[in-house]
Amino acid sequence: MDVLALSRIQFALTSAFHYLYPPLSIGLGVMLVIIEGLWLCTRDPRYHQMARFWTRLFALTFAMGVATGIVLEFEFGTNWAAYSRFVGDVFGSALAAEGIFAFFLESGFLAVLLFGWDKVSRRVHFFATCMVCLGAHFSAIWIVVANSWMQTPAGYHIVGEGLLARAEITDFWAMVFNPSSMDRLGHVLCAAWQAGAFLVVSVSAWYLLHDRHWDFARRSLKLGLAVGLVAALLQLVSGHRSAVGVARNQPAKLAAFEGLYDTAPRAGLTLFGWVDERAEAVKGGVAITGLLSWLVHGDADQPVTGLRAFKPEDRPPVNASFQAYHVMVAIGVAMIGVAVLGFLHFRRTSWFGRRWVLWLLVLSVLGPQLGNQLGWIAAEVGRQPWIVYRELRTFEGLSPVVTANTVLGSLVLFSAVYALLFVLFLYLLNDKIQHGPDVDDLTPSGKLALPAREPRS
């Protein structure tokens, strides 16, 4: 394989592996803020116990996120040096802002969140939890801004020609609020909230299924389902807005998502199918005529641009984008169903007769994770063959001095290290879940041991 393919595989692998963890940190961060907020309001030590337990899972995911995140920053320089030269003036400032505004905030207050239980008062601890959560959201903001600029560049001009050409910033705020950044940010955050919420749902349902930690599990499940449902419903809005934005700003990408070749009015929405890229047609698909036009324009008679409007060398890989996008959408819709189903069964006494519902909830943690991965695959594969949309092609961004063998070596190394880490992560996560919430945590110690109200039964 050539340097291009290997470098792409390596970046895909390292970013996909990294992206298992930050959504969990963001989503669990929100859950922790809610739980600690409830503890502060009600003074019910059972919320303290919940906060302590979920913090332990949070710490594990956060550590994995930190360990694997720094790789991505370095890879821009190691593997994509020409890209770094081209975009540094624009992209670099977003990355630096992420470091200074988000990472310091997160890591500083993380120490208080994890180790400060006995050292600071409840209010200070709650404040630290909020700051960690805020920091996690800030990092999402800046990295999504940076990636969105690659999708829909704005606020820049090109200086120099040929190999010396580079993008220079002309308007910082136009760069930050580029046409896709806010829609995509909403989409990423809703997905991250679901990732955290459904982890809570999954673990709680597992306890219920095994008849353990009843009270703890029911409370956690209720909170998880509530956050998960809200996020899943908001995701419909953000997903729709993102798709309309893609249609407007990256028509080739939308056409690939939908497997649409002809530019015609009353474009159909294909529910599923297989794109034969050679025959330029969708095989075995079911389509609803006019729905795509209606979704994009609010008018079924308007045309949607198809792939034939683009030269073959300007088209993204169609079937990969199509499948990733369609499965992501299907998962997104299914998550609403799962959350609603969970709620419907929540108050029933027939919990134990309905083990399949609990099993479904246990497995629900995979939904957002899979959706996140597929969503990013759709977004990044759909942007091809460009690394910066309509400005720089992916192969033009490579490091000129790095050879295929070198990249192959690092790819093998990263694969081995990540495989090991993933197994260890699952092992420790499982261990923490099996161990369950600590009974000792029902009595807060240190500075937290303020007089607590009797728990309401």
């Binding site: 550590a63 930190v66 694997t68 720094i70 790789v71 920053e73 370095f74 821009f76 320089g77 190691t78 593997n79 040096a81 770094s84 030269r85 975009v87 540094g88 003036d89 624009v90 992209f91 670099g92 400032s93 990355l95 630096a96 802002a97 992420e98 470091g99 200074i100 505004f101 990472f103 310091f104 905030l105 890591s107 500083g108 207050f109 993380l110 120490a111 208080v112 994890l114 180790f115 400060g116 239980w117 050292k119 700051m131 580079r166 220079e168 910033i169 002309t170 490091s399 000129p400 001095v401 790095v402 070198t406 070596g409 690092s410 990263f414 290290v417 880490l421 260890l424 420790l428 261990d431």
Partner: protein
């Protein structure tokens, strides 16, 4: 913000230098504690070592991440050349930093002996490797690397492993080990503290020997890294400050004033980095053997507009960072004690 006719390129040279100096001062002691980790014997002592840096190491590593981001934004050409040119070095550094992070996080999560010992080795090994690789990169930057007319690296991997670079790598390990030992002294009490007090003098001696050899090697083989001080004798005051700071470390240790010894160690690092920057300026990457191809703060920088935006971001962000970094160190001041949330 409008910065008038301020030389933003030079300002960013200083700021990137400040970020990396901050990284050396802060994560330096984490790496040093990691290097010493295997010398401690009992499980409790090892946990004390880990928890001495437990709440802060993560924040300290952010200095490297943000320094890298700042380099990317302010001097993209340098970022591209150095990271792609030192590909293997940086990949190994990444793997070392990954293992350092997960070793700290995973080690005490299981009670098995083999589990803890494996992570102890991983923690120590990755800390040594990280320090060494950082030193090797610094050594190459000081020596200069071969660049072509477009500013791309045109050397080879073995070329990066020249003795001078390796010497700087070893010196960095020694420096961080001493720094980490002093930090661990501040954070511990009882038998471990006494054990560390015995080691700290050896660490200081080791570092001073490395320092002397590196200084001589620099004067003999890398004369351009002393040219500016030679031309401007008043700059020798920084060299003097550096030496006095280093000499002050054993003195403060002898009097049992560990905090002041740590401060001296920080001052020594700052003076060293200051000298490094002073001799490098205006180059960021010195091209050796063709100096005309060097990447400087002017030919490798982003536009003035970006440098201005970034300076605004830094002026807003840095006071915040200083505020909450200080408060975290304040909350976790004093000797480390193990409890159920410890590593």
């Amino acid at each position: 913000m409008n910065f008038g006719d301020l030389d933003l390129n030079a300002v960013w040279f200083v700021l990137v230098g400040v970020m990396f100096t901050g990284y050396a001062m802060l994560d330096g002691f984490d790496l040093g504690v990691g290097t010493l980790h295997l010398f401690t014997r009992s499980d409790e002592d090892r946990r004390l070592m880990l928890n001495a840096i437990g709440p802060v190491w993560d924040g300290n590593e952010v200095w490297l991440v943000t320094g890298g981001g700042a380099l990317f934004a302010a001097f993209p050409a340098v970022y591209a050349t150095v990271f792609s040119g030192f590909y293997v070095t940086f990949v190994l550094l990444l793997v070392a930093l990954i293992f350092r992070a997960v070793a700290i996080e995973f080690r005490s999560k299981q009670p098995m002996r083999w589990w803890r010992q494996s992570w102890d080795v991983a923690f120590c090994g990755s800390s040594v490797a990280s320090s060494l690789l950082i030193g090797v990169v610094m050594g190459n930057i000081a020596w200069g690397i071969p660049l072509d007319a477009r500013g791309e690296f045109c050397g080879t991997l073995p070329g990066l492993l020249r003795p001078y670079a390796l010497l700087l790598g070893v010196t960095t390990v020694g420096l961080f080990m001493m720094h980490g030992c002093i930090y661990a002294l501040m954070k511990t009490e009882g038998p471990l503290h006494h054990q560390l007090r015995g080691w700290v003098n050896q660490c200081i001696i080791l570092f001073i020997m490395c320092y002397a050899v590196t200084t001589m090697a620099t004067l003999l083989y890398v004369p351009h890294m002393a040219a500016r001080v030679r031309a401007n004798p008043w700059l020798f005051s920084i060299v003097l400050l550096n030496m006095l700071a280093i000499a002050n470390i054993p003195r403060e240790i002898h009097h049992g004033r560990d905090g002041r010894a740590f401060l001296s160690s920080c001052v020594a690092m700052a003076a060293l980095m200051g000298l490094f920057g002073l001799e490098l300026f205006p180059n960021l990457v010195r091209s050796n053997p063709v100096p005309a191809h060097s990447l400087t703060v002017y030919n490798a920088a982003s536009s003035r507009k970006t440098l201005g935006i970034m300076l605004t971001i830094a002026l807003i962000g840095v006071p915040l960072v200083v505020a909450y970094t200080t408060s975290v160190y304040w909350i976790f001041r004093g000797k480390v004690r193990l409890n159920q949330t410890s590593y």
